[in-house]
């Protein structure tokens, strides 16, 4: 009995040591391969890091499910919006002809693009489902230019790690890693279901990420910044939603 207990004690000790060492090595590797999200500290850091790291390892190149035209929702739902700013209303009155998307930060050639310029680039459309973190969903055809195409035009510096994207409306911005930024389904979206993208759904320009949920799909986008550090933006968690207590990574 006593020997058995000693053996048990030694095994437990070894297992604990292996566990702690393994955790240390895992943390080191996670940092090395960019698998720690910007909100990976704090009490929910372990869960967030596990989710982000696991999903990144499993889904770096996978495409979100695409549906057939008959599956497009007859009644898609535009979420509630705060009252538009005067600035937005001026663009709206002008049918967004002067709307521009500015790109700066870690790029070789900072530039700004009009919506018609963006529409002249190769387009991609996909019929995908968008879901809100509240639980509701709808399917629509999203038409736009792959973000990767526009990023190629401005020349992303090799050490850029995130694309920060801003809405014209105040306190509305998010960021994504390069895996999502270069993902073929990530679109600067200007059309929906064969038509222009309605204002309620984010027109004239919405960032559409297919593998993250609704709140990462910022509406009325007019500026992108490439960066290797999210700390200087807002409270430093990489988005208005994560600054407000939501997870930065929203793949689930």
């Amino acid at each position: 009995m006593k020997h058995l207990s000693r053996r048990k004690l030694i095994t437990t000790g070894l297992a604990a040591t292996a566990g702690v060492t393994g955790l240390g090595v895992a943390t080191h590797l996670a940092h090395k391969y960019g698998l720690v999200p910007p909100d990976g500290g704090g009490i929910y850091g372990p869960g967030e890091t596990l989710t982000y790291a696991a999903q990144r390892l499993l889904t770096r190149h996978s495409l979100a499910r695409e549906f057939s035209p008959v599956e497009i929702s007859a009644k898609p739902l535009a979420n509630e919006l705060a009252p538009f700013s005067d600035e937005f209303k001026r663009f709206q009155a002008d049918k967004f002809t002067d709307w521009r998307l500015a790109i700066d930060g870690l790029v070789d050639r900072p530039a700004s693009f009009s919506v018609s310029q963006i529409k002249s680039y190769p387009s991609r459309s996909h019929i995908t489902e968008i879901g809100c973190e509240e639980g509701w969903t709808y399917i629509a055809e999203w038409i736009g230019t792959p973000l990767s195409h526009v990023l190629d035009l401005v020349g992303v510096k090799p050490h850029a790690k995130y694309v920060v994207y801003f809405s014209i409306e105040p306190d509305w911005w998010e960021s994504m890693d390069m895996a999502d930024a270069l993902h073929p389904q990530t679109l600067l979206t200007y059309g929906m279901n064969g038509d222009d993208l309605p204002v309620g759904f984010g027109g004239p320009l919405r960032m559409r990420l297919t593998r993250q949920i609704g709140y990462k799909n910022v509406k009325f986008v007019n500026r992108l910044t490439l960066t290797d550090n999210l700390k200087p933006f807002g409270k430093g968690t990489g988005g208005a939603n994560s600054d407000g207590g939501y997870a930065w990574y929203a793949g689930i």
Partner: protein, 260 residues
């Protein structure tokens, strides 16, 4: 006198080496250390997942079947409660505060912990023979005579036989096995089937369920099943003797003698 305080943590019970004199008289624990630790980790996760799940549910207390669902579509059923979103027509004149930020964080963190705990428990249960010997019902349990006797005794609310302090009866075995091998994996699966990233890598995990909203509805129905399981579990513990059953799950001990 036996008190919970005499054996404050399960860890102590694992180390009989500390009091060699007691070793000779201490019987094998009712529940192994691993079963006891994982039981309380499951308990912790259960409540974290339940509370945060309810908070998330409140932001859209409507359920659908199929791929898509939103307030422009007719639901399969609604929960008649107020919502934390103005968007949802609940009939109540007010909107509850939004708790989804921390609820989602905690829900997923607790989900990871429950998965790791479940893996540890399952590996141990499989390799130690715990499942085969103590949890899964054998042919002798499943005889018509044994089954009907167990059902009748439960219907009469008879106090459990002494033997049941040491091993599970057939109804317990069936209920635990169903919760562990059917409800638990289905819960994790239906949860992951709602993740757009996870389903981009494994689309069949959601299509086989009938779509995103079906997965969400099943996730909710499984929650109801787990809550019912908890109620029955607690009721049975009260009927069998709350103090002794709970002590057995904390210290592993069944009778008072071992405490002296």
């Amino acid at each position: 006198m036996a008190t919970l305080g005499s054996a404050p943590t399960p860890v102590d019970a694992s180390l009989p080496i500390a009091s060699p004199a007691a070793v000779a008289t201490t019987p094998a624990p009712r529940h192994s250390l691993l079963v006891r630790v994982t039981h309380w980790l499951f308990t912790l996760c259960f409540f974290a997942l339940l509370v945060t799940g309810i908070e998330i549910l409140i932001s859209h207390p409507r359920f659908y079947w199929g791929e898509t669902g939103n307030i422009n579509m007719s639901p399969l059923f609604k929960i008649p409660i107020p919502s934390s979103r103005n968007l949802v027509p609940t009939g109540y004149g007010y909107v509850l505060p939004d708790q989804n930020g921390w609820s989602r964080y905690l829900h997923f963190q607790a989900a990871w912990l429950v998965v790791f705990t479940g893996l540890l428990y399952a590996l141990h249960g499989f390799f130690s023979g715990h499942f085969r010997k103590r949890l899964l019902p054998g042919p002798e349990h499943l005889s018509r005579k044994n089954l009907s006797a167990a059902i009748l005794s439960h219907l009469r609310f008879e106090p459990p036989a002494e033997a049941e302090a040491h091993s599970y009866n057939v109804l317990q075995r069936l209920a635990y096995a169903f919760a562990i091998f059917a409800m638990f994996p289905m819960m994790i699966w239906t949860g992951l089937a709602m993740s757009p990233a996870f389903t981009s890598a494994f689309p069949v995990t959601v299509t086989i369920l009938g779509g995103h909203q079906s997965a969400r509805t099943l996730h909710f129905l499984l929650t109801i099943a787990f809550v019912l399981f908890l109620f029955v579990h607690l009721l049975m513990i009260f009927l069998a003797g709350f103090f002794h059953r709970t002590r057995a799950m904390i210290t592993g001990r069944v009778n008072n003698r071992a405490d002296s």
